[in-house]
């Protein structure tokens, strides 16, 4: 064990051991421990002995120093430190590829540390598909600058001008006489650069060196294996749930049995005699128990007798009545194109013309209402964190994807200076926005400070499913008008989202424990009702959104927050279903209908989204073998009706088209995807293997939300509490075939400055609509509410006389 208050040695060892890239390839267990240990030792030295000794305080690493980002070791290896986290999409490996390229060092001689607020610079963490698009740039610039500085040092050492040097795999040599050479490790190994960078903030930090052009990148673009996978399959990874500290105790929450409940009493005698019982912790309506052992805490939390008063009025309608409620609820806040992470989805074509005038004289009019319920994160594991209050500081071990925000949130919640709090990011279940609107850290930290011992908090399954943050429900009304030639000439998108008091990231005044303790923000967050993204030319177009709130917005399990492309899947379900309806009304093939509306325009934006949209749609059609014909097709004779649907969208500059082929069982209403094709253009591909994986998993997450996921509730509590009551995609649901086509639709695909765009979320966006459109193609029945569960689909088929 380390000194009290420090990170225990075995956890340090674990954090280091899972970065076992030195041992790539065969025999992953034949760990070269000595190499790792040596690397870590120099790491620790360079990154600040205080962090490892752990006494605190923990000032921010200076992002304007190369040393905060890159450490070169004497054995000519490098450690990169970046202020991001990788919840499993391979961004950490991608950062290594880019930085190895810029530094000119062999990829397998590098490691990457992420998301430790005491040793890595504050790049916020992960979220919004920003890893490659935005946050890889400062890493690249710093690595390029480090290379420049090393070349200067090499020139001095070798006695020749920089222009006469070459560098390869961290070895600098004289071009005319390669026997004259010096390694990075020999130049600076184990010592500091002490070179200052410039830039107003971490995103703009830079040195003097230029980054490389695309053709100069060697590792970037290669399908290298992810460095986090081996330890995830052999059981050696130490996750945030695995943290054990000397004197650590276990806490479990006792949640209110219904929303807006007021605690009337606690009968502590109901648990006092239990083995290992330490304490009931309570303030306001927050209640938790603390025990020596984990199973003891679980038992005590279940056994603790509490009494609660119900609120005078119902906190929300039932899930069955949600959309009726939303239709007439007063507007809580007008909404623009969305919050910071969705704003870039707004297309450049809004608003245009005057749809209201055009509707009156149109050849054909279409109106439709689409309904998307609350959908949960339902992370595979409950919220969890371990907090250590030693030495008057607070160390939090967490899988929060935005560890820096968590540090600010915990410090503010506890009233501690930020320098006294540090967050150590470790792997955990998913991310997708839940582990940023994170709850367990403030709970663990508060209890830890109150009792003066390290506390491990973990939410149980029913807590997590019922009380996690929810993706806002959407009710979208759409109108369209076609002219006599079947052209969509007017379009009116009007969204209502149930999103008032939308939770931000790591907010000390909206985190659930703060709400339960009675904190109320004077002005709740307005929420957003995003508009869809497309490049369609529709001469008269209007898109508006407004936000409504539930009757109760505090101390309720129906808390809205960001879930993987917040609002994107909802807005796109409505918009891309509606375009399909318009195509059907025009009796035009739905893919052709979309392409016509894109080619009707001639202007493009700086990222060529118009050209790339066409390329992506065409690539998807080709990969699928799309047969052009209007939807729906003639209804088949057997029990299984098959059809195909397409939908497309972009998120930021990333363009994605999904084609789904489904079968609908006319007897049971069961929808099964048989085949999925995703065409995807996110600019420069850093790692095609990780990208393929991210697209595949995002696509299937979209399928899960299309056919399974809905938060159910009565008028006082959420009734979705486990995997039976909030079902998710399973092995049997997975299509036989998934084709992913990586597209580079840039008009100049080989341009040397092709940038990478985000890829963590976009593939999910059009999936709900693609499935709905495929169901329509198969059956002729348009279902405007997700998820397409058996009973809902069967009801719709029956109503249509099928």
């Amino acid at each position: 064990m380390s000194a009290r208050g420090g990170i225990p040695k075995e956890i340090e060892r674990a954090l280091r051991l899972h970065r076992r890239d030195f041992l790539k390839s065969a025999g992953m267990l034949a760990v070269s421990v000595s190499a790792c240990a040596a690397g870590w030792a120099t790491d620790a030295g360079a990154q600040g002995a205080a962090a490892v000794q752990g006494s605190g305080p923990y000032p921010n690493p200076d992002f304007r120093q190369i040393d905060a980002w890159i450490v070169i070791h004497e054995n000519n290896t490098a450690t990169f430190s970046v202020g991001k986290t990788d919840p499993g999409q391979g961004t950490g490996t991608g950062f290594r590829q880019l930085m190895s390229d810029e530094l000119d060092i062999a990829f397998d001689k590098t490691t990457c540390i992420m998301g430790r607020t005491d040793t890595t610079v504050d790049q916020v963490g992960s979220g919004g598909s920003t890893a490659m698009e935005r946050d890889s740039w400062p890493m690249r610039r710093v690595a390029a600058e480090a290379r420049r500085v090393l070349l200067d040092m090499g020139a001095a050492r070798l006695g020749v001008p920089v222009e006469q040097l070459t560098v390869h795999d961290a070895v600098i040599s004289v071009a005319a006489d390669p026997s004259k050479r010096v390694t990075y490790g020999e130049l600076i190994g184990g010592r500091k650069f002490n070179v200052s960078l410039t830039g107003a903030n971490v995103s703009s930090v830079t040195g003097l060196a230029k980054t490389k052009t695309v053709p100069e990148l060697k590792y970037t673009g290669q399908p290298l294996q992810r460095d986090d996978i081996p330890a995830k399959v052999d059981g050696t990874l130490t996750w945030a749930v695995d943290v054990k500290l000397p004197g650590m105790v276990h806490a479990r929450n006792v949640k209110p049995p219904f929303a807006c409940a007021t605690l009337a009493g606690i009968d502590e005698s109901s648990v006092k005699g239990l083995p290992g019982f330490i304490k009931v912790m309570s303030k306001g309506n927050y209640v938790a128990v603390v025990c020596e052992r984990e199973e003891q805490a679980i038992r005590a939390a279940r056994q603790l007798k509490t009494t609660w008063n119900k609120p005078a009025t119902a906190p929300f309608p039932s899930s069955e009545g949600l959309f009726d409620y939303m239709r007439t609820a007063p507007v809580a806040a007008p909404s623009g194109p969305g919050d910071a992470e969705t704003r870039n989805a707004a297309p450049p074509t809004t608003p245009a013309g005057n749809p209201d005038d055009v509707f009156a004289g149109a050849a054909k009019r279409i109106e439709a209402e689409y309904q998307i319920p609350f959908q949960g994160h339902t992370a595979f594991g409950g919220a969890h964190a371990t907090a250590d209050p030693s030495n008057g500081q607070m160390t939090v071990y967490s899988n929060d994807m935005k560890s820096y925000g968590m540090r600010r949130g915990v410090a503010t919640f506890l009233g501690m200076p930020q320098e006294q709090v540090r967050v150590i990011w470790m792997h955990g279940p998913q991310g997708f926005g839940r582990t940023a609107a994170e709850d367990a850290a403030c709970e663990a930290a508060w209890i830890a400070r109150e009792i003066g011992r390290p506390v491990r908090m973990q939410w149980m399954r029913d807590e997590e499913t019922a009380w996690d943050t929810k993706s806002p429900a959407f009710l979208v009304n759409m109108r369209g008008a076609l002219d006599a030639n079947g052209r969509l000439i007017a379009y009116d998108y009007k969204a209502r989202s149930c999103d008032y008091n939308h939770l931000g990231y790591n907010e000390p005044d909206t985190v659930l424990i703060a709400q339960l303790m009675g904190t109320r923000r004077a002005r709740p967050a307005g929420g957003s009702a995003s508009v869809p993204s497309d490049m369609y030319v529709i001469p008269n177009r209007k898109m508006t959104g407004e936000v409504v709130g539930l009757p109760a917005i505090w101390e309720t399990p129906l808390r809205t927050g960001n879930l993987r492309d917040p609002n994107g899947p909802q807005a796109t379900f409505a918009a891309e279903s509606f375009i399909d309806e318009a195509a059907a009304a025009a009796r035009v093939d739905p893919l052709e209908f979309r392409i016509r509306m894109i080619t009707a325009g001639s202007t493009d934006d700086a990222g060529f989204r118009r050209a790339r949209s066409l390329a992506v749609l065409k690539a998807a059609a080709e990969a699928y073998g799309w047969d052009a014909r209007p939807s729906p097709k003639a209804v088949g004779k057997g029990d299984l009706l098959t059809g195909r649907g397409v939908a497309y969208a972009f998120r930021g500059q990333t363009i994605v088209a999904q084609i789904a082929e489904v079968e609908v069982n006319r007897k049971t209403g069961h929808v099964r995807a048989r085949r999925l094709v995703c065409a995807h253009d996110c600019g420069l591909v850093v790692n095609p293997e990780s990208l393929h994986h991210a697209i595949e998993c995002g696509t299937l997450h979209g399928l899960s939300r299309a056919i399974h996921e809905e938060v159910r509730f009565d008028t006082e509590k959420v009734t979705s509490v486990d995997w039976m009551t909030h079902p998710t995609l399973r092995h049997a649901d997975v299509p036989e075939r998934i084709d992913i086509v990586l597209v580079n639709g840039d008009p100049n695909p080989k341009r040397p400055d092709l940038p990478p765009y985000g890829a963590g979320e976009a593939s999910l966006k059009p999936m709900l609509a693609a499935i709905g459109n495929a169901i329509f193609d198969a059956t002729g029945v348009r279902i405007r509410r997700v998820p397409f569960r058996d009973d809902r689909v069967l009801g719709a088929l029956r109503a249509a006389g099928l």
């Binding site: 996978i229 052999d234 649901d733």
Partner: protein, 154 residues
């Protein structure tokens, strides 16, 4: 509390716990194993699975005192410094995203292949259907099982 003897991954252990304690917490907190995870505590997700008598069982539901046979956890699959072929297939197919469920995926697949060395697609889907993944790595899990089966794991 009472004294209970366990054999885990070929090693004998004696623990002093409440006999009703779910095996999961003994493995994780007393024996320091990090493969099995808490996911639901209800036997619905598979995160906590271990192999006992050839079956992949949810250790969150098994009282520690009821275990009479040897327990194999994810940590016990590798032998002589070499990964189990299923684990290698998991790396070759780059299966996990977050990876939190992969203990359950691998242990369930191990139990399947031990009994059915060359499963059909339907057998794989059926055997794996109770083992959930919220990152949706299912397609790759199935590919990795097929790869391992082809190489003859059993």
């Amino acid at each position: 509390m009472s004294t209970i003897d366990l054999t885990v991954n070929g090693r004998s252990h004696t623990v002093d716990v409440d006999p009703a304690t779910p095996l999961l917490y003994v493995l994780r907190n007393d024996l320091g194993l990090q493969g099995p995870k808490f996911g639901c505590g209800l036997g619905q997700c598979g995160a906590c699975k271990v192999i006992i008598s050839g079956a992949a069982v949810p250790s969150c539901l098994v009282p520690v005192s009821s275990v009479r046979s040897e327990i194999t956890t994810l940590e016990g699959l590798a032998a002589n410094g070499r990964l189990h072929p299923l684990q290698q297939a998991w790396i070759d197919e780059q299966v996990p995203q977050c990876g939190f469920c992969q203990n359950g995926q691998i242990m369930t697949a191990k139990a399947l292949l031990d009994k059915t060395p060359h499963p059909t697609d339907a057998q794989i889907r059926n055997a794996m259907n109770g083992t959930l993944c919220r990152c949706m790595s299912y397609y790759r899990v199935q590919s990795a099982i097929k790869r391992a089966a082809k190489q003859g794991v059993a």
